[in-house]
């Protein structure tokens, strides 16, 4: 019995280390980030000037005229994250609902057997390979064929268009997050009680309407949960985005119409990767850790939202 108690203690202690890890992460990242937040206040999140110039000033330890060395306005980065994440999630949501319906309702057996490994494959491809394809194949194509010289000239005075842009980043990001959404939504659709659908069919409703009105409505909590999960993944994607999003801290302007899609951005996570070499420079490091702190808080919020979204699923006996 003594050994049993010891085993319980040992295993429990190991589990508690995980808690300590999360606490340590929050404390150290916020501790390191604090100088950047305290010097800039809430305007840290606002806009003002070019982020890249500000980061370079920190790197060279030469403050911008009229500002302290800590001067940093992260809006272009936040905007880049927001644009890529929201657009990608919206695209992925539509695609994955259609794909999940197809898989569970319409696909013939052969198609189903093909799609199953295909979606697994899309989920398994490492982000650096997506990035490589994006930067070596898709971005040059967009640059050569989809962006006219007139369009490049129209915004040439603020930013150069070269094919690594919002559109490329969003489309690839959508491909990356679609598989998990399809998997989660399909799993939920498969658990909709057969009798509910048959009830609808017995009332003379055709299959499509039955899917929309009964199956998808029943699976709504799973769709919400899948969206939250996919958002978290899109938010944290760093490598692919740093390769194909244009790598410039530029707040792409939606008022530019179609040109907006061809403007470069740089989300938060990609900013960390691209400035990782400068982490030995104290002020720059504080700023980069501040960026990380924002990501950490967002991830925690999404984790919470995911937990909340999962609660109704337990009612239907879907494992969560």
């Amino acid at each position: 019995m003594r050994t049993d108690q010891r085993a319980e203690r040992a295993l429990g202690a190991l589990a508690v280390i995980v808690l300590l890890l999360i606490a340590a992460m929050a404390v150290t990242v916020f501790g390191k980030a604090w100088p950047s937040f305290s010097h800039n206040g809430l305007s840290w999140f606002g806009s003002g000037g070019d982020v890249d110039t500000q980061l370079r000033a920190m790197e060279q330890a030469s403050p911008l005229a009229g500002h302290s060395l800590y001067y940093f306005r992260a809006w272009p980065l936040l905007w880049g994250t927001l644009v890529t994440t929201v657009l990608a999630v919206v695209i992925a949501l539509v695609v994955s609902i259609l794909a999940a319906v197809f898989l569970t309702e319409f696909a013939p057996a052969t198609m189903r057997r093909t799609l199953d490994p295909v979606i697994r494959l899309l989920a398994a491809v490492p982000s650096v390979i997506y990035g490589l394809i994006g930067i070596l194949a898709i971005a040059p194509y967009i640059n050569d064929h989809l962006i006219s010289n007139a369009r490049k000239a129209s915004v040439g005075y603020v930013v150069q268009l070269n094919g690594a842009d919002v559109a490329t980043a969003t489309v690839i990001l959508a491909v990356m997050i679609t598989p998990i959404m399809v998997a989660l939504i399909a799993a939920a659709l498969a658990t909709v009680p057969r009798s509910w659908r048959e009830g609808s069919a017995a009332l003379g409703v055709n299959r499509w309407r039955t899917i929309i009105r009964v199956s998808l409505r029943t699976a709504r909590p799973a769709i919400v949960a899948a969206t939250v999960l996919a958002t978290a993944r899109a938010l944290g994607e760093a490598i692919m985005l740093s390769m194909v999003s244009g790598g410039r801290g530029f707040a792409a302007n939606p008022l530019d119409g179609i040109t907006f899609l061809f403007e470069p951005v740089r989300p938060l996570a990609a900013t960390i990767v691209q400035n990782a070499e400068g982490l030995t420079i104290p002020v720059l490091a504080h700023t980069i850790y501040a960026v990380a702190a924002v990501l950490l808080v967002s991830a925690a919020m999404l984790s919470l939202a995911g937990w909340a979204a999962k609660q109704p699923l337990k009612r239907y006996g879907i494992r969560a």
């Binding site: 319980e8 995980v18 398994a124 998990i180 989660l184 390769m243 937990w307």
Partner: protein, 344 residues
């Protein structure tokens, strides 16, 4: 209508005479419903096309730039691609990091899962640990990476990496990256193990207790052997995550393409040193990195993709073995993906 109805009594067993089409025809549907139906088909085909496109593209590029010599030569800094060497060091680096990460994450993950599923006392603590693991799964790997950099550049951890002349600790090493990789893989292993433990029927536990086994002995000698395929699939999923991760490598290991040992001790020296893995090699050689040698990047990416697909096939096999005993095999891969998605 009445004339077409057969007289009552001619239908012997009800339902036999009624021949229903296997699939309802869409011809009678309103236009908008039919558009939806065809959109579903289009999406399914498009996903297949994208996957096929990725695989074919990488296959063509990979085969055209891959040479056997790339596997045995170390990378060397050179402007010309023909003199830039191969990716022997990155492959070794991938191997080292995966081994290190799994060596830490597998025992820790299984132990935590066993505690969560079999003990979980006090209840509040168990709930907290559960959500902490879920939260770790949701933290972006870049954030994990720079957190790791912060931890491993503390003075007292200097023995894990290298010290500069002024006593500052560098913080970048295979050791540090391995530990952070373990954190990355942990939620997957915990998730898979708990999944397995939940499926073990209670009578196995009861039989063990009836024979006088303690809880700990029951876990060690009855439960863990019974769920070996689940643990294995968790480990392979974790390996896939580690092999495919780039952010942690570029921040915590990969400043140099060659593996540079610290000190003279053979293995420890390499682990304390910096280097690269296949992912960071691809990243550095892409136009986004400093190397800009696309041919090398394609070749390495092809090797990386093959490794990942191999691991993926392994997971399918392992979970497939699980599913078969459960009796249902429909969309096995997707269901495995859905389960692992929750525990990322």
């Amino acid at each position: 209508m009445a004339t077409s109805q057969p007289p009552v009594g001619t239908l012997a067993p009800a339902g036999l005479a009624v021949v229903r089409p296997r699939r309802q025809s869409t011809a009678s549907w309103p236009l908008i419903d039919r558009v939806g139906y065809w959109l579903c088909w289009a999406t399914g085909i498009a996903l297949c096309a994208i996957a096929l496109g990725i695989v074919l593209f990488m296959l063509i590029k990979g085969i055209s730039y891959l040479q056997p010599s790339l596997f045995v030569h170390s990378p060397s800094p050179s402007v010309r691609q023909s003199e830039a060497g191969g990716f022997f060091d990155p492959i070794l680096g991938t191997f080292i990091l995966t081994a290190l990460g799994i060596a830490i994450a597998a025992p820790a993950g299984v132990a935590i899962a066993a505690w969560l599923s079999e003990y979980a006392r006090p209840r509040a603590l168990a709930r907290a640990v559960e959500s902490a693991i879920e939260m770790i799964g949701g933290v972006p790997s870049v954030v994990l990476a720079i957190f790791g950099l912060l931890v491993f550049s503390q003075g007292f951890l200097g023995f894990l990496s290298q010290r500069a002349a002024n006593g500052a600790v560098y913080g970048r090493s295979f050791f540090g990256a391995g530990v952070i990789m373990a954190v990355l893989a942990l939620p997957l292993i915990v998730g898979a193990t708990r999944e397995g433990l939940a499926q073990v029927p209670d009578h196995m536990r009861e039989a063990a207790y009836a024979l006088g086994k303690t809880r700990a002995s029951c876990i060690r000698h009855v439960l863990l052997p019974a769920i070996r395929p689940s643990i294995a699939s968790g480990v392979v999923l974790g390996m896939g995550r580690i092999v495919g991760d780039t952010a942690i490598v570029t921040i915590l290991v990969g400043v140099t393409l060659q593996n540079e040992a610290v000190g003279n001790v053979p293995v420890i020296g390499t682990l304390r040193g910096t280097g690269s893995t296949l992912t960071s090699y691809v990243y550095t050689n892409s136009p986004a990195g400093e190397g800009n040698a696309p041919q090398k990047a394609y070749a390495a990416a092809f090797v990386l993709l093959m490794i990942v697909l191999l691991l993926n096939a392994l997971v399918t096999r392992l979970t497939g073995a699980n599913e078969r005993t459960g009796g249902r095999r429909r969309l096995a891969g997707l269901r495995a993906l859905a389960r692992s998605a929750w525990t990322r």
